[in-house]
């Protein structure tokens, strides 16, 4: 047991500041435990989101010493003895209070993403899919919607005006999931991603992948394959030439 110094951002849309707390830290604790202790003993109205405390629900996203992460997965032994730990809210979304931000941007983008569209002629119980065919999509379905990727992506983090045209990594892996789903019947997902969701804004600098607590290969397995699918459709000169010659619109199998 030792006493550590925490700096926690407190405030709301009107403004705020980093408030210092000296707080007891026990062996094996995570940042969220310490936040809870501050809440229980020093600041009962300290606003923080959390749920499962086991890295499964994605509620307790914040920035710890400037790095976006789940506070329930940020073990205290990551920090040096005597190091001040600074905890701030996610910096890409509007502030509500203290460590809580308004993440509705992400829900809105999800709502603008066309849903799974199953084949009309298959009744429930008749679905047959091979494991190898669902595995790629299953990786993306590990997403716990912590929105750390959305928060870290510089496209919107540093450029508020891009929130309109850009849907973000979370949405891109959702689109990839559906585009790779063995039974999804929509054929316009690549166009929607490129034209309406701002896939082209991504410059694959991979911060989304770096902060993903589920270790989803957001860029390599989701965004880049989507970019490649779009490229195959629109920019590949050989495909273009092939179409000219054979006059056939080859898409996916």
């Amino acid at each position: 047991m030792s006493t550590r110094t925490f700096r926690v951002w407190r405030g709301d849309a009107e403004g705020g500041e980093l408030v210092e707390f000296d707080v007891e830290v026990n062996e094996g604790e995570v940042v969220l435990d310490v936040i809870h202790r501050i809440q229980a003993e020093q600041a009962p109205d300290l606003a923080v989101r959390w749920n499962c405390k086991a890295g499964k629900c994605g509620s307790c996203s914040a920035e710890v010493n400037g790095m976006p992460r789940l506070t329930c997965m940020a073990r205290m032994n990551l920090f040096e003895e005597g190091e001040t730990v600074t905890v701030t809210p996610l910096r890409t979304f509007p502030i509500m209070r203290d460590l809580v931000t308004d993440v509705s941007f992400n829900y809105q983008k999800a709502r603008e993403t066309p849903s799974f569209t199953p084949p009309a002629d298959l009744a429930p119980g008749e679905y047959r899919m091979q494991q190898v065919d669902v595995e790629r999509s299953q990786e993306f379905r590990k997403c716990i919607e912590c929105f750390l990727c959305q928060n870290t992506c510089h496209v919107v983090r540093d450029h508020e005006e891009n929130k309109e045209p850009f849907a973000g990594p979370r949405v891109f892996i959702r689109v990839a999931e559906l585009d790779m789903h063995p039974l999804d019947t929509r054929t316009d997902r690549q166009d929607t991603a490129q034209d309406e969701q701002g896939l082209g804004y991504c410059n694959i600098t991979k911060c989304c992948t770096e902060v993903c607590p589920e270790n989803i290969h957001i860029t390599d397995n989701g965004i880049i394959p989507m970019k490649e699918r779009v490229a195959g459709d629109r920019y590949d000169p050989l495909v273009w030439l092939g179409r000219k010659i054979f006059r056939k619109g080859e898409r996916q199998d």
């Binding site: 920035e63 870290t152 450029h159 790779m180 394959p225 970019k227 490649e228 920019y235």
Partner: protein
């Protein structure tokens, strides 16, 4: 590394946190190393492709990849496996038909894009560190929309890698006929690494099977996709290793050709 004041990260409606980044670790290290590494390589490569000498070891048929395929009428005849038709001009590299494509292949490579966007362009320099630019449109318009041509450059790079492989096989030579020396290992090693980089390319992965919706209906392509995926997982590593191996191979050929060292021979 400076950043502009135009980032949204501290502006309303977001939390009014003064510091642009609160990262306490040494986040500048990687972009700085990247700049140093890429600059050094480009400097060396530029020097070598315009040097127009010491690219061929006549005794053992070692040809450096920087001069393959050698199309200039200035090329040593034996080194030009596919004919000589380009004019010999000091500003025209001997392998002027392949080098631009190799350059474009690497420039549009998904890994190198990350590397130079982060380090040279600061967009962003590191995660949760503000973008160095006030406006950002990514790869949505010219010229960066051209990054989508990566696939095309990949196809050409694939051909060039075949040529490099051919070069490496032809190099089992000595004045006495068949020969085998350390240079062969260098050339072969380089080619093997180039395959790891090229076959693990994101575009290759797409072409092999990434575009399919049902792997189960295409077992062979699934197998190829799986191999490409395994290599792709370490694409950054292959990207750097092949820069090193290209430079090393070229330097070895140059050193033997210039007579600074003599090739260690195992057979003839």
């Amino acid at each position: 590394m400076s950043t502009t004041d135009d980032t949204s990260v501290s502006a309303p409606p977001r939390a009014a946190i003064e510091a642009r980044t609160l990262r306490t670790d040494n986040w500048m290290r990687v972009p700085v190393l990247t700049v140093l590494g890429l600059t050094a390589w480009v400097a060396y490569a530029t020097f070598r492709v315009f040097y127009q000498g010491n690219y061929w070891v006549a005794d053992y048929h070692y040809l450096t990849p920087f001069y393959s395929p050698c199309f200039s009428v200035g090329c040593v005849p034996e080194s030009a496996h596919f004919g000589r038709f380009l004019p010999d001009h000091p500003l025209l590299p001997y392998a002027a038909l392949s080098l631009p494509f190799l350059l474009a292949f690497r420039l549009t490579c998904y890994y190198y894009r990350k590397a130079y966007y982060r380090s040279f362009w600061l967009s962003p320099p590191a995660c949760a560190v503000p973008d160095g630019h006030a406006k950002y449109t990514g790869e949505t318009r010219l010229p960066l929309i051209g990054q989508n041509l990566h696939r095309y450059f990949f196809y050409v790079a694939l051909l060039i890698t075949l040529v490099n492989t051919y070069d490496a096989i032809l190099a089992f030579q000595s004045p006495a006929g068949f020969g085998f020396g350390l240079g062969n290992l260098v050339l072969l090693g380089n080619v093997a690494l180039l395959w790891c980089y090229t076959f693990g390319c994101h575009s290759c992965r797409h072409v092999m099977g990434g575009k399919l919706r049902h792997f189960s209906k295409h077992p062979v392509r699934y197998r190829l996709w799986t191999i490409a995926s395994v290599l792709n997982n370490r694409h950054m590593m292959w990207a750097w290793i092949t820069l090193g191996s290209l430079m090393l191979t070229d330097f070895y050929v140059m050193a033997v050709s210039a007579g600074w060292i003599s090739d260690l021979r195992f057979i003839n």
